[in-house]
Symmetry: none
Subunit: 191 residues, 4 copies
């Protein structure tokens, strides 16, 4: 019964593992099947094509982040506290599953006809929410008026991606301090 969900989930996890290692384009459908311990054909009982798997991966992760952000948005906290909450969640997730982090940072599909909806959303929505945080903070005087919210949000989202990239490539341990450092930097600058 929940077998259906489980199989799709099984494929998703196998795909994360394999795609994080070889990249989307170099990942063969058969590798995912092997990793999942199922037949190739089975993949296509749950996903219409390879792209749909990647899309689903992003969909899941995006949902998680948007869930966090919604919860956070409701809270009566200053900008830095809100951001800190989000960063902690995000870095925590990545720490627990570096493969997912790798995919989130690296995959930027180039669709032909049916590109991955969710990748675009992931890369777009999250910065927009951050932008919203900033705008509100400016209204309250928490953040300087001279700051361009669009630019700042792009910085922050980019910085987060950059840190995850670095963590994956060489120093996973930086994820421990990353949130704190990032918040500190945003609060007071480097000096």
């Amino acid at each position: 019964m929940s077998n259906l969900i489980n199989k799709k989930e099984l494929i998703r996890q196998a795909a994360v593992k394999v795609m994080s290692k070889h990249g989307f384009y170099n990942t063969k459908a058969s590798w995912i099947a092997d990793e999942a311990g199922i037949a190739v054909g089975t993949i296509y009982n749950y996903f219409s094509n390879k792209e749909a798997i990647l899309d689903y991966i992003f969909e899941i992760e995006l949902k998680k982040r948007m869930g966090y952000l919604e919860d956070i948005e409701k809270k009566d906290l200053d900008f830095y506290s809100k951001l800190a909450l989000f960063l902690n969640k995000h870095f925590q997730e990545v720490k627990e599953n570096l493969s997912v982090g790798e995919i989130l940072v690296r995959e930027k599909e180039f669709p032909k006809k049916n590109g991955s909806e969710s990748i675009t959303k992931y890369l777009t929505q999250i910065p927009i929410v951050i932008e919203g945080f900033i705008v509100k903070s400016q209204e309250v005087g928490e953040v300087k008026e001279s700051i361009d919210p669009v630019i700042a949000a792009s910085f922050i989202f980019g910085a987060v991606q950059g840190i995850v990239e670095k963590a994956i490539n060489s120093q996973p341990e930086i994820l421990e301090l990353a949130a704190e450092q990032l918040i500190g930097l945003l609060k007071e600058g480097l000096s």
Copy 2:
């Protein structure tokens, strides 16, 4: 002989144009040839394979950046001035050729045997140089000791990538203010 150089350069530029639009994996060698107005076979007189073209693109761009950074390093300037010089150069380049920016931000090849050396270098070396800047600045007391140079460098490099991504996707004009805003943020934080 300058003919030789020109043809290679011609191919590089054609590749930038086409790859920025469709991504490396979805770009057919023949499209590059068409864009360059040459025969497919000709590409292979100048590049051993498709990857080598992308590699060459990054090689060129990396060289430019490293050149700037070396020049900047020699100057007797404070950290922020140095960084400002670099950012201005970088954003200027991207502004002049958004296609190049698109590639620099998006392509993160997954090599099998012979992955692109230059992409890895680009993603690695530049942050390291920035890291060096930070370390030096900390020695002089310009930058707080509490700042983790690795994280900060990843932050900066990531933020730069993030802003370029945003510029490409929707608002090229933010490149105008980006350097100034980033420096401001790093100097004093958001508040």
Copy 3:
């Protein structure tokens, strides 16, 4: 047990509908199941494979025709009357179920190992019977000696198929007059 027969018949009818529309090779087993309102697996409780369904369809139709022909053969009628009886029956059947007609005219399977026995029989036996009619008629002087029975039988069978094809493609109403016209033509020619 009549349940057993009914299910097989149900599948046959569903298959006729779907195959007449998409052709044997483009008909998915699952479509037949859907049309029949059963599960795919059920099909295989009644047929060993997809080909066997088509084979069965032809088997049924061939049996019907051979039945008619046997009955007709016994009657003491002249050639044209016999043929008329057969044509009326055949065109009647087709009129009542154009889908069956479509299949009879269009499907000419190319077997690998286990080709459809019945298709071959259908395409072979009926002309042979007609040939027999002609030979007998020649013995009685009803049909000219100069007529080659094999050729004439092929004409007649082909003409019947041709008319059905036309009826299906564009003018089902020609089936009304087809038998009469065909007989007239055979009797006296066009002039």
Copy 4:
């Protein structure tokens, strides 16, 4: 130079051979390539897909027939002479290349999106031209008014197909007499 034409023609001929033997759906692209003595990929330099090959086969044969028919149409001959000319040409072609005949008689594609234009045309146009012949002949009083031209044309086209089918299946030699016999039948009937 005419190499291009020759290669396409080479593929066409190989396809005729193989498809006539195994049928369109059971013919593997690689078999055609093997028969033609070329690489599979080469096929796709000349045809966009397998269907396009079959389409081309029919296109060629249809053109031939329509060419004959146009030439014949211009001549000032009675209906039977015209038809005789056409039949002789057609049966001659088939005799010289039974494989082509086999395809013309057997292949009745079921297209999804992009079905074979030419097959439909072949099955449609030729009967229409014959129909035209009949109508004209009726105006001149050559053919009885009681004859339905559509039915008669379908009869004739079907009879032709029937005789080719028979020739291919068992008695190629009947093609010798086929035209004469069919004309005789149409002229005076069987009796």
